[in-house]
């Protein structure tokens, strides 16, 4: 039992490291989402400035704004959940350390209170694992949704490029914005793919 708890503790420290990597990955995507938000604002201004001559782009900029808001909401959801997960996983590490010490004590002496204490900690641990499992599942949903949204983002990027090409002499500014947007979405997709894989692990 002592070896079992100790091994669990080691597994949990690796789990905490994994959650930290996830958290760092989410921070990166959140940063890109923030850049997209700024770009969406810029695109709206450009579309307004060029008026009739960039009518198609007005539609695109609205889509872009909606997309950036959706992505931001998704990243906020992911961020909140990953914060909770890190917090619970670090608490779990503490719990397992205590359980490990009690279990080791129990190897040398048998006492009802010791066993009760072990039992209580084990119950707490099970509850904690359930909670973490729920958060983990919620995060998988958020990442899947964000991934789908980004796939749609690639379509917006492509359409934006076409619209920019039809905007005549004003096209250069719109093309710049479209290319930038396309780059951001292309950067986010592999990050989200990594997050999806990491959450499966």
């Amino acid at each position: 039992m002592g070896c079992h708890v100790s091994a669990m503790s080691s597994v949990q420290s690796h789990e905490l490291q994994r959650f930290i990597m996830l958290r760092e990955g989410i921070k990166e995507v959140a940063f890109r989402a923030f850049q997209i938000k700024l770009l969406a604002l810029n695109a709206t201004l450009l579309a307004k400035r060029f008026g009739e001559q960039a009518r198609g782009f007005v539609v695109i900029s609205t889509e872009l704004r909606d997309f950036s808001q959706l992505l931001r909401t998704q990243m906020e959801g992911l961020g909140e959940n990953s914060t909770k997960l890190v917090s619970l996983a670090s608490y779990e590490l503490k719990l397992l350390r205590q359980l490990n010490l009690l279990t080791r004590a129990g190897q040398h002496t048998s006492h009802d209170r010791l066993q009760n204490a072990q039992g209580q900690l084990q119950t707490q641990h099970q509850q904690l694992q359930r909670q973490m499992g729920q958060i983990h599942s919620a995060m998988q949903t958020w990442v899947d949704d964000a991934y789908q949204a980004c796939l749609f983002g690639t379509v917006i990027a492509r359409t934006a490029k076409i619209e920019a090409a039809h905007a005549g002499p004003l096209g250069a500014a719109l093309a710049d914005a479209s290319n930038q947007f396309s780059n951001y979405v292309e950067q986010i997709l592999p990050n989200l793919e990594q997050l999806k894989q990491a959450l499966k692990g």
Binding site: S9, S10, Q12, S13, L16, Q17, I20, R23, E24, T83, V86, S87, L88, S90, Y91, L93, K94, R97
Partner: protein
């Protein structure tokens, strides 16, 4: 939950204060942890007790990747300073903990081994975090017999462990000292009782008053900054300590 607040930032060199936990149960003394970051390398001062590990860890993870924390600086051996060591080692077995050589064999009762613990000589030593050079400043008998503070000449910050500590009322959550005279009333009893040597105190005041310090960061209570730093050193110099 605790919150990490940047108290110094210059390029890739930062100090964060991890302080003020409104959820903290009242039977636990409130502590401040400080994170020094230079590039992708970080050091944590007095990481706190085992009970608060989850809240310190989570607050820290909000601002840096915790795998960057490769060093711990423990001002002394108290449980509220370093009893979480075993958990930090569980997260990163390669973490190193700097502490007075006096405590090298005591601290493994909390966790760690010969590899983890790096004993500091009585005169102190230079520590490196990324490209930042920090100085462990001796503060023996203030209050522990093997006690160190940490000075960062670039940030002009002195982490002063228990020196400067104040036991503030529950509703006083300011990160910085606002009204020195009011604040120091909460520090007086602590210093009179916990600081053991007037001679050591005199020597410390003499040495640190020669350093350029813009922020004096204790392990409990609010941070002194600007003119309040020298105000505190002068106040401490005058105070008779080592009494019940």
């Amino acid at each position: 939950m605790k919150k990490a607040t940047a108290i110094f930032e210059e390029g890739h060199h930062r100090w964060y204060a991890i302080a003020r936990d409104p959820m903290r149960p009242s039977f636990l003394i409130d502590t401040n942890e400080y994170l020094v970051q230079s590039g992708h390398d970080a050091l944590l001062t007095d990481p706190g007790g085992m009970e608060i590990f989850p809240t310190v860890f989570s607050a820290l993870a909000e601002v840096v990747d915790p795998t960057q924390v490769r060093q711990i600086f423990a001002s002394h051996q108290d449980p509220d300073v370093i009893s979480s060591l075993a958990l930090w080692i569980a997260f990163n077995p390669n973490i190193r903990c700097h502490i007075s050589r006096l405590w090298e064999t005591f601290i493994p009762h909390f966790g760690g081994d010969k590899q983890t613990l790096i004993g500091m000589p009585d005169e102190g030593k230079e520590l490196h975090v990324g490209v930042a050079q920090l100085q462990a400043v001796s503060a023996h008998y203030l209050h522990s017999s093997g006690n160190f503070h940490l000075y960062d000449p670039t940030a002009k910050i002195l982490f002063s462990g228990d020196v400067g500590a104040a036991l503030l009322p529950e509703d006083d959550n300011a990160l910085y000292v606002k009204d020195f005279d009011r604040h120091i009333a909460y520090a007086k009893g602590f210093h009179v009782r916990w600081m053991g040597s007037n001679q050591a105190k005199r020597d410390w005041c003499e040495r640190v008053s020669k350093l350029t310090i813009e922020q004096l960061c204790p392990q409990h209570g609010a941070i002194y900054r600007g003119a309040d730093v020298m105000r505190f050193i002068n106040w401490f110099d005058e105070l008779k300590v080592g009494m019940a």
